[in-house]
């Protein structure tokens, strides 16, 4: 039927959820991030990942990259709802716009001695993670890549003395010479 759930159809339709990466160009003004986040929480949308920073200083434009999940109808809703916010200039669904590159950076703190410490370092090299801080009993690795790579790295570090992880969230951009 393609109809979503509402107050009148209690059974949620069994529609598959899709993950989409949405890029939002906004005026960098106070409260703009609150507007975007408030929209997501207020309407019950998911945020899997969120990154934001001013990207065009003269024009005071910020770029927000949101990874969200939902049924195709909900994803459409999210885009239209974002687009009607007054300070939003454009909304691009990178997942459907063509080939995109998605990267994330993580800082991973691992503590340990002996064989575990050697193994952590060996794996870090294999993942091309850099050591940015170290003592005799810990490392802080910096790793960049797709989300899946970071997930995998963190899983591998868990038995080797993983202390904590900090992730930036996904930054994404379209391939090719065109602007979004």
């Amino acid at each position: 039927m393609g109809q979503p759930g509402s107050a009148y159809s209690l059974e949620k339709p069994e529609e598959a959820l899709e993950a989409h990466t949405i890029s939002v160009l906004v005026d960098n003004e106070p409260g703009v991030l609150a507007r975007v986040i408030g929209l997501f929480s207020g309407r019950g949308y998911n945020i899997e990942s969120l990154t934001v920073s001013e990207t065009e200083h003269e024009a005071h434009l910020s770029r927000i990259t949101v990874v969200t999940t939902g049924t195709p109808m909900v994803i459409e809703q999210i885009k239209h709802q974002l687009d009607r916010l007054v300070p939003v200039h454009s909304v691009i669904d990178l997942t459907v716009a063509g080939e995109t590159i998605e990267r994330e950076l993580a800082l991973v703190k691992v503590a340990g001695v002996g064989e575990k410490r050697v193994e952590a370092l060996r794996l870090a090299e294999a993942f091309r993670a850099q050591v940015i801080d170290a003592s005799l009993e810990h490392f802080v690795f910096q790793i960049t890549g797709r989300q899946s790579k970071i997930e995998q790295f963190v899983v591998l570090m868990a038995p080797l003395g993983l202390i904590e992880v900090c992730r930036t969230g996904v930054a994404a951009i379209g391939r090719g010479p065109e602007r979004m």
């Binding site: 109809q3 107050a7 009148y8 159809s9 209690l10 409260g31 109808m73 809703q77 239209h80 939003v88």
Partner: protein, 594 residues
């Protein structure tokens, strides 16, 4: 005031506010003073271009501005103070957001250096109002103030209209800055659509001319698009000969006296309108949003139809119901485009199929779904509205309502032939909307007959605004259908909760006639059908605010009704409803729903 080297006028923030209002063509504002807006009130005192209406509660200010906006098509303007002034306005702002009413609400704020300090009467106004406005601003630079105010008016009235808050700290109101006039340049990011996509228009018209069981379903969007849009809608509907129904918000855009009119649709819509929605093969939705009061059970909503949806807000399209031909555009433009495309095709319609469709509709009409049993000793609420309608037909009448049974009866039994005559809280369902809205309407239409069709429970929520009406000689009529119950709550408790009337009886009601007198208004009471007409006529000719206490049947229910969780073709009709039917009509699942 002085001019600086650039030629732009220098003035204080408070003067900028008044200048911007005047440049925006504002005649009336509704407000309540307080510490954080005193500089603006001081400027108000020293000018006579903008007339200020002092309300009795900030919620009333926003509803009054809504009534003003809905009856004139202009932006309604509100001025309130910081803290409680702003928080009291929140209900009104949310109401305006849900019903897409253009309102600019100026709020005072504590001085910038105190923001975040938990200062006296401080609240995070932009934070609180962010989800209940179309947009909001906190102005921290006096040189930006004029631009922000003009932008606020632009945002409020453009595209899908809505409320906009401009929060102005007190020090900014005192500070001197430069004033900029209204700019004609395009907004940098908010440019709503006007024309619809031509290919979609063609596709829609193709569907329309080949339809065998077509139906127009229109809403408040047509009214928001201005009176010309309603004129165009009439042309399109008459040209096609197709039946038309409207939402609660859309009443008046098509004349209710016309033979193509099926009445309102939805939960308390007519049998013919809802069955036509269910059985149609092409649905032409213009400026309505497939709200849950309209669709009923979604998986059984108009299962066989192709759907065309015209809306200025793309987020309304495919939100609840999948449509086949979406057209994003302003109704004022799109309806004309549809007319043009229709004429260009010079279609030959399937007359036989349409005659069959009208026959079917006539059999639904024959059910006389709005029929009710009159009583000789008790005024039936439906009868009261019928008489009110009959006796006001020769007047230039505007109707506002509160929320509940009386609102639905008003929608069913008071018929509108023109847009902008019907002001009711549809989306938010705000009890207490009617009196302040009537104040706003009467302010804009001094010589018209403005009636708030009310319930005795709702009306007490904002009763104090009668005092505003008295102060400004606004002869609004508050026509209370007094059944001593929160009628709609009582009806649902009867239908869904085994008749356990938990806290829905209005105990300790005031004597409304004496209450009117206490406010220096006029009180009238009618208790028997025989005295109703004379009492209504007396109300109409009274040149002062009137509270009319119409004592009606206490148990009357509002039918027809689509029970929660049911489809359009499964309505409860008034006459044949027995306790047994009610037991069966609403499933356990339905009871969970609103």
């Amino acid at each position: 005031m002085s001019a600086n080297e650039n030629g732009s006028a220098q003035m204080t923030g408070a003067q900028i506010v008044l200048q911007a209002l005047s440049d925006q063509g504002v005649d009336h504002i509704f407000g309540y003073p307080g510490g954080a807006v005193l500089p603006i009130y001081d400027e108000l005192f020293q000018q006579d271009q903008v007339e200020h209406v002092l309300v009795r509660h900030e919620q009333g200010a926003v509803h009054a501005a809504e009534g003003y906006a809905r009856s004139t098509g202009k932006v309604g303007v509100v001025l309130v103070t910081s803290g409680p002034g702003a928080t009291n306005a929140v209900t009104g702002l949310t109401d305006a957001l849900m019903d897409s009413i253009p309102v600019v609400c100026i709020t005072g704020q504590v001085p910038t250096h105190l923001i975040g300090n938990d200062a006296f009467q401080e609240c995070d106004t932009v934070g609180i109002t962010r989800p209940c406005t179309k947009h909001n601003y906190l102005v921290k630079d006096v040189d930006q103030l004029a631009e922000v105010l003009h932008e606020a008016f632009y945002v409020a009235r453009s595209g899908r209209p809505g409320p906009v808050v401009v929060d102005i700290p007190k020090d900014i109101q005192f500070m001197t800055g430069s004033y900029k006039g209204v700019s004609n340049s395009q907004h940098k990011s908010y440019v709503p659509p006007q024309q619809g996509d031509q290919a979609a228009i063609e596709a829609a018209v193709d569907l329309m001319i080949n339809a065998k069981k077509p139906l127009f379903y229109t809403g408040g969007g047509v009214i928001n698009a201005g009176p010309a849009a309603s004129e165009s809608l009439r042309e399109l509907v008459r040209m096609s000969g197709y039946p038309i129904t409207s939402t609660l918000m859309g009443l008046g855009s098509y004349p209710a006296s016309d033979k193509q009119w099926l009445g309102m649709l939805g939960m308390h819509g007519t049998f013919e309108a809802n069955n036509a929605m269910h059985d149609c093969d092409v649905m032409i939705c213009i400026g309505a949003r497939f709200d849950d009061r309209i669709t009923g059970r979604l998986d059984a909503f108009s299962p066989e139809s192709k759907k065309i949806h015209v809306d200025v807000d793309p987020s309304s399209i495919n939100k609840n119901v999948h449509v086949d031909v979406p057209i994003v555009g302003d109704c004022a433009f799109v309806i004309d485009q549809l007319i043009e495309a229709w004429k260009a095709k010079n279609p030959s319609l399937d007359k036989t199929a349409h005659a069959r469709w009208w026959d079917q509709i006539d059999t639904w009409r024959d059910r006389k779904c709005l029929h009710y049993r009159k009583k000789s000793d008790v005024i039936m609420p439906q009868y009261a509205i019928e008489r009110l309608f009959a006796l006001t037909r020769d007047h230039d009448t505007y109707i506002t309502t509160e929320v509940g049974q009386h609102q639905m009866w008003a929608a069913q039994f008071f018929h509108f032939d023109e847009p902008n005559r019907w002001m009711t809280s549809g989306g938010l369902g705000t009890m207490g909307y009617g009196i302040p809205a009537a104040v706003g309407v009467q302010m804009a239409h001094r010589d018209s007959l403005v009636i708030d069709i009310a319930g005795e429970a709702s009306v007490l929520m904002t009763m104090q605004e009668i005092s505003t009406a008295v102060q400004y000689d606004l002869p609004i009529k508050i026509f209370i259908l007094n059944n001593e119950y929160m009628g709609m709550v009582r009806q649902w408790q009867e239908l869904l909760h085994g008749g356990r009337y938990s806290h829905s009886y209005s105990e300790a009601l005031p004597d409304f006639v004496k209450l009117a007198e206490a406010y220096r208004a006029v009180g009238i009471r009618a208790e028997k059908p025989a005295e109703l007409d004379d009492a209504i006529l007396e109300m109409i000719k009274t040149p002062k605010p009137v509270i009319f206490d119409c004592v009606v049947d206490k148990q009357a229910n509002c039918f027809p009704m689509i029970p929660s969780g049911e489809a359009h073709n499964n309505m409860l009709l008034g006459d044949d409803v027995t306790g047994d039917d009610i037991e069966k009509a609403i499933t356990e699942e339905g009871k969970v729903m609103v």
